[in-house]
């Protein structure tokens, strides 16, 4: 009898919890409502799509052509190309949290974003903790830029840092033997002091790359060159300062940026958000710690900093 009673009690408890659980789930609308609010208090699902593209960390290209894993810039480019070709995607929310990166990688993403705009889609950039230098260069391609008041941005400029170990090598009695085809083939060598002519040549390169950055900001943000020249000296700004300078359009987080994008695309309803975009194997291999191998002598690699000559739009 006792056993039967306890069995019935257990059965009742189980049935009650299942029925209550189903009632809780089926009666739930709070989450759906919250999502609607986050998308600008819109009420109707339209099936129109907005894509979210994340540019996080340094922007650079792979230094090899094979392998499953591509650098983030290449993944981003591949994603952007797919988005451009997808007519159902009306806009792109570009989330940027990057100190910048190499010149070519940055420019390639910037150019792809311009193509996306040309195809009739809207692009809104949402700046996170940092969107400086190349991170800001990329954002300039957007129709609108939304930054948090404390976002670090700006840093419009180009940098090339080279080490000079000539004195140190002399002290330890070491030197490099360089056989070169032309006077400037070992420009930027860590083993000797740079000549004034070499410095001038590199400065011209830097100035040229800076001119491209300057042009992109001026055109993207529609800021007159005379005005832009006043603060395009590598200075870093907070989001609030950047708004005053006209480097960003409004202040807010990614939610606000999404609202701006919904307005820009004139979507009358709740759009479908498309996130991610990595291939399944990329997600798998991301779990494995991986670094591209340098071709530098392993002994030197430990002693010397990475002495690759590359121009960067990066916040140091």
């Amino acid at each position: 009898m006792n056993k039967r009673f306890i069995s019935i009690a257990i059965l009742t408890l189980y049935t009650a919890s299942v029925l209550t659980g189903l009632w809780v789930i089926l009666g739930r609308r709070a989450r759906e409502r919250k999502e609607a609010v986050s998308l600008g208090s819109l009420v109707r699902k339209t099936g129109e799509k907005l894509a979210v593209v994340e540019i996080f960390g340094p922007i650079y290209m792979s230094q090899r052509s094979t392998g499953f894993i591509k650098a983030d810039a290449e993944r981003t480019l591949r994603r952007l190309k797919r988005i451009r070709k997808d007519p159902s995607i009306l806009g792109v929310l570009l989330k940027i949290n990057s100190p910048g990166g190499t010149v070519a990688a940055t420019q390639e993403i910037h150019a792809e974003l311009l193509k996306i705009k040309k195809s009739g889609k809207k692009v809104v950039a949402s700046l996170g903790d940092v969107a400086a230098s190349g991170g800001y260069y990329v954002a300039c391609a957007a129709d609108k830029i939304v930054a948090n008041p404390g976002t670090l941005t700006g840093s419009i400029g180009v940098i090339l840092e080279l080490w000079n170990f000539e004195t140190l090598l002399k002290k330890i009695g070491a030197k490099t033997e360089t056989i070169k085809s032309g006077a400037r083939k070992d420009i930027g060598s860590y083993a000797r002091t740079m000549t004034p002519e070499e410095r001038q040549a590199l400065q011209e390169l830097i100035d040229n790359a800076y001119g491209q950055f300057f042009q992109a900001v001026s055109e993207g943000r529609k800021i007159p060159k005379e005005k832009l020249a006043a603060f395009a000296d590598g200075s870093i700004f907070t989001g609030a300062q950047a708004k005053e300078a006209g480097l960003v359009d409004s202040l807010g987080g990614s939610e606000e940026a999404l609202e701006v994008l919904v307005k820009e695309t004139k979507i009358q309803g709740e759009p479908q958000m498309i996130e991610g975009g990595e291939e399944p194997w990329e997600r798998f291999f991301d779990l494995i710690p991986f670094q591209e191998r340098s071709r530098t002598n392993p002994l030197l690699q430990n002693l010397l900093p990475n002495q690759r000559v590359r121009f960067e739009y990066i916040l140091e």
């Binding site: 189980y14 299942v18 609308r29």
Partner: protein, 184 residues
């Protein structure tokens, strides 16, 4: 019937195992996991899902989970049988096949835990989940002890052996993959 079994599993697990084994309750062994997985799924949905997601999970998700369970059940039982024999036990694999699904019985309690968690805080669900998992493991050990006449420590060892073996293989594969990629 299931609830009586539930009662027996609390008070006299051996009696519950005896009845299942002697009466050859295949229907229970197949349906019990369905209810267990339904309870498990429902408990997560109560806490985290919206209506649309719940609808999808309670239809296709549940069918998929149940199919995976059947595969896991049929796949794991011979491994456990081998493991128990290695540990010195003697028993029949068909009996284990009937007994093994009882490990999902404790998860019947999870929807209740979810509902309580909704009111008192979600940390309580974690507590409930850990509790049910530990109870489930304890039932597994008891089932192995009963079916293979093993000591408690050996039954626990037999339960962990296939998992430890697969974990070892997994870690080794990951290491070898990482080494292979490092040299690519």
């Amino acid at each position: 019937m299931v609830m009586e079994l539930f009662f027996d599993l609390i008070h006299e697990p051996a009696e519950a195992f005896r009845r299942m084994r002697e009466e050859r309750r295949w229907g229970i062994s197949i349906l019990l996991p369905l209810l267990g997985l339904f309870s498990l799924t429902l408990s997560f949905l109560i806490l985290w899902a919206d209506k649309e997601m719940a609808r999808r999970f309670l239809t296709w998700g549940l069918v998929l989970l149940w199919t995976l369970w059947i595969l896991q059940w049929v796949g794991t039982t011979p491994l456990l049988h081998l493991s128990c024999e290695i540990m010195g036990g003697r028993g029949r694999v068909m009996d284990l096949l009937i007994l093994y699904p009882v490990v999902l019985l404790p998860f019947f309690l999870l929807p209740a835990f979810s509902l309580i968690s909704l009111a008192l805080g979600r940390w309580l669900f974690l507590f409930g989940f850990v509790f049910c998992s530990l109870w489930s493991m304890s039932l597994s050990v008891k089932a192995l002890r009963y079916n293979y006449a093993l000591e408690k420590e050996r039954a626990a060892g037999a339960l962990l052996l296939p998992g430890a073996f697969l974990f070892g293989i997994g870690i080794l594969s990951l290491l070898l993959s990482a080494i292979a990629f490092a040299f690519m």
